[in-house]
């Protein structure tokens, strides 16, 4: 720009620049203040929502505990929840053998493994395990197998599922009431359920 023109317009240009600078600064400050006010308001509303949600959750939790606590404790008692009760399982096997008048039950319990069908049960924070128990039975008749399994379940010493059974007729030259005629091999899965570690489990 021509120096003479610049000199002639210096004062108004300085005024214009000052107005723009002051205006922009003012606007920036006010905008900042408005943003802060809105942010504070949003924060307060968020706090309120959180408090309401917390209370609602406490009420819901209370209702859930009241509804499920007895059944949960019952599951603890029967051995589904918590550690395995292998001695109880063996006692139940002996009882079922005696009750069914079988010719002895041999068993083999494997190491505890993750339950392979846990994905069907949506366990969340809970972990599911199983211990495979292979039992060999000598039966008078193949019809004795189902009552044996029923008696074992009725003992309520744990929860098991029958995964596999094979029965084979043992040819003894004719059936006799005091001799076994069928050999049965079954594979049972004793299932246990474990809640997460105590720390962080009981959220309140």
């Amino acid at each position: 720009m021509n120096p003479n023109v610049l000199r002639a317009l210096k004062a108004p240009l300085v005024t214009l620049v000052a107005v723009v600078v002051i205006g922009v600064s003012l606007q920036y400050y006010i905008d900042f203040a408005l943003t802060k006010a809105k942010r504070d308001l949003a924060q307060q509303q968020r706090n309120l929502r959180n408090a309401r949600a917390q209370l609602q959750k406490a009420r819901d939790d209370n209702a859930i505990i009241a509804r499920y606590l007895n059944r949960y404790q019952n599951l603890q008692q029967i051995g589904l929840i918590g550690d395995e009760q292998r001695i109880n399982w063996l006692d139940a096997l002996r009882f079922a053998n005696q009750e069914g008048r079988l010719f002895g039950v041999s068993y083999q319990i494997g190491t505890q493994q993750p339950y392979p069908y846990a994905d069907e049960l949506d366990p969340g924070q809970l972990t599911l395990h199983q211990s495979a128990m292979k039992v060999t039975l000598r039966l008078l008749h193949e019809g004795d197998l189902i009552p044996f399994l029923g008696t074992l379940a009725e003992q309520r010493v744990g929860v098991f599922s029958v995964d596999q059974c094979t029965m084979e007729r043992i040819d003894t030259g004719g059936s006799a009431r005091n001799r076994f005629n069928v050999r049965a091999d079954c594979e049972l899965a004793w299932i246990t359920l474990r809640p997460p570690a105590a720390a962080g489990d009981r959220k309140s």
């Binding site: 905008d31 706090n47 603890q76």
Partner: protein, 540 residues
């Protein structure tokens, strides 16, 4: 003039300036000055055209105080008007052409201008221009310099006849040939208008004292008629209208004399009272000088024909630019203030809401937390969280629902065996898994892994039935038919999804070696063993 070298644009279409200004009329005899305040001429001063007058004029400018833009009229004999048609052009082409023409016509003066006055009616439709100039720049040089030295913005310099165009326009004079006659400080000014458009003007210096002056005026008007004829502006046969502008009511006899001596001249006198009434000039202002009427017309509206060179109007343009920038700054400040006020209102509104919300929310939060503590106190002692409590119970229910036993398949098998006494069961296998019996279950293979097995399809019950056909006397066809019937009896059961014969007593496949004995003896015939795969439909 020590003005910067700005582009010298001598062509303008006019600009109206209705703000306060300083009006100056310069003639060879005297200089008149008046202020234009609030749309009216306010006061007036007269300075002699001399060094003393110039000094007084400088003092007058110094006393002005404000940065008023200066508009100057020049009433001089040394003036020139010429009409010329030029090829139609626009923009920079037009500016360049006009500047070249101005330099060509008026080489010795910077005070010249050109105005577009319409288009020719001919085929080329050329542009018609009025070129005018003050041919003696020295006449006003000292006075212009005085203005610039005082740093007053010089807005424009105009020839007096161009200013009188506003008079014709204001009075709405429609005569085709009009001669405007007035007495100015320089003498008798005769300006001819053709169709209300300035064509030519004369200034005649006549001693205006006494009755002989009237006679001289009348003679000059008659001479002007001849002059116009000589210039071929109009013929003697044409009707000429004369308007005598008599601002001090001293020329009533002139009108009579013209009417008497020139029968083909229509003469009319514009008396002082009519001037005051129709042109809006105050009577005292009209009395200040002989040029007061033209100062008033210039103040009302500046004509297009500004003679001032760019160097002279530099200050005025800067003055306008300053005002524009200040106006822009004002508008900007107002807009920012309005925006800030609106935003501030939002902040106040938000803060009001915020404060009320904070109070309400804080009270609600406190109340909710108290309720929460009360509710938490009512919690029974639970071994796990509510979520895990519920989930554990639901998992136990699902396990119970999903459990299966061989009982269903044994019942189905029993019903089929009752219908087929020739079939004897030798072995029975049952499996509940994602694969059929005899195949490795992917869930089982995952046992060695640390986590649960991979998700697969739904579990189903499958069984492997081993049996034989009895009695069997070597009739494989009959044995096969018995096995087929037995398989069919199984497959019609509603719970059965599939029955497949895996092993038959005699495999007749061409890919295998086949041997035996055809003797009709059950001892020699061997056994008719078979195996069936039985798959049940999944149940929920």
């Amino acid at each position: 003039m020590n003005s910067p070298a700005l582009p010298r644009l001598k062509f303008s279409f006019g600009r109206s300036d209705t703000g306060d200004k300083l009006l100056v009329s310069v003639s060879a005899r005297q200089v008149s000055a008046a202020r234009w305040l609030n749309g009216r001429v306010a006061g007036g001063d007269i300075f002699t055209y001399s060094d003393e007058g110039l000094s007084a004029f400088k003092s007058y400018l110094a006393a002005t105080g404000r940065q008023l833009p200066v508009h100057m009229i020049v009433d001089a004999v040394e003036e020139d008007y010429r009409f010329e048609s030029l090829p139609h052009s626009v923009g920079s082409d037009r500016s360049g052409m006009l500047n070249r023409k101005l330099k060509q016509h008026y080489r010795n003066t910077p005070y010249c201008s050109a105005q577009l006055r319409g288009r020719d009616s001919g085929k080329r439709r050329d542009d018609r221009y009025l070129f005018c100039a003050l041919t003696n720049p020295e006449l006003i040089a000292a006075w212009v310099r005085a203005v610039i030295e005082r740093e007053l913005p010089m807005a424009g310099i105009y020839l007096l006849p161009t200013v009188s165009e506003a008079l014709v326009e204001r009075l709405q004079l429609k005569q085709a040939n009009l001669l405007l006659v007035s007495i100015t400080s320089s003498g008798l000014r005769l300006t001819f208008f053709r169709d209300a458009e300035l064509r030519v003007s004369r200034l005649v210096r006549i001693d205006s004292s006494g009755p002989p002056a009237i006679k001289s005026y009348a003679e000059e008007i008659s001479n002007t008629r001849l002059y116009l004829h000589a210039l071929r502006v109009m013929t003697l046969d044409e009707q000429l209208s004369v308007l005598i502008v008599d601002s001090d009511d001293t020329l009533p006899e002139l009108a009579d004399a013209i009417a008497r001596d020139n029968p083909n001249i229509e003469c009319r006198r514009l008396a002082r009272a009519e001037i005051v009434a129709r042109l809006g000039i105050a009577a005292p202002a009209l009395d200040t000088s002989a040029d007061a009427l033209y100062l008033h017309l210039l103040g009302s509206r500046a004509p297009d024909s500004n003679l001032a060179p760019a160097e002279a109007t530099f200050g005025y343009r800067m003055h306008g630019a300053r005002l524009g920038i200040y106006a822009l700054a004002g508008v900007t400040a107002f807009a920012i203030a309005a925006w800030c006020a609106f935003t501030w209102y939002q902040i106040i509104d938000t803060n009001v809401n915020l404060e009320s919300d904070i109070e309400a929310a804080a009270a609600q939060v406190a109340q909710l937390q108290a309720q929460y503590l009360e509710t938490a106190r009512q919690f029974p002692a639970a071994p796990a969280s509510a979520e895990n409590l519920q989930r554990a119970v639901e998992i136990a229910q699902k396990i119970n629902v999903s459990k299966r036993s061989p009982e269903t398949m044994m019942t189905i098998l029993g019903r089929a065996l009752d219908q087929h006494p020739d079939i004897r069961l030798k072995s029975f296998g049952w499996k509940y898994g994602r694969t059929d019996i005899g195949q490795q279950d992917p869930g089982k293979s995952a046992k060695t892994k640390s986590g649960p097995g991979p998700a697969g399809g739904a579990r189903q019950q499958s069984g492997l039935v081993g049996g034989e056909v009895r009695p069997f006397r070597g009739d494989y066809r009959a044995a096969n038919e018995s096995i087929t019937r037995f398989a069919a009896a199984l497959s019609v059961q509603p719970e059965v999804a599939e029955v497949r014969v895996i092993k038959v007593p005699l495999n007749v496949s061409p890919s295998l070696t086949l041997s035996g004995n055809t003797a009709n003896s059950s001892v020699l015939a061997g056994k008719a063993d078979f195996e069936l795969l039985l798959v049940l439909k999944p149940t929920t």
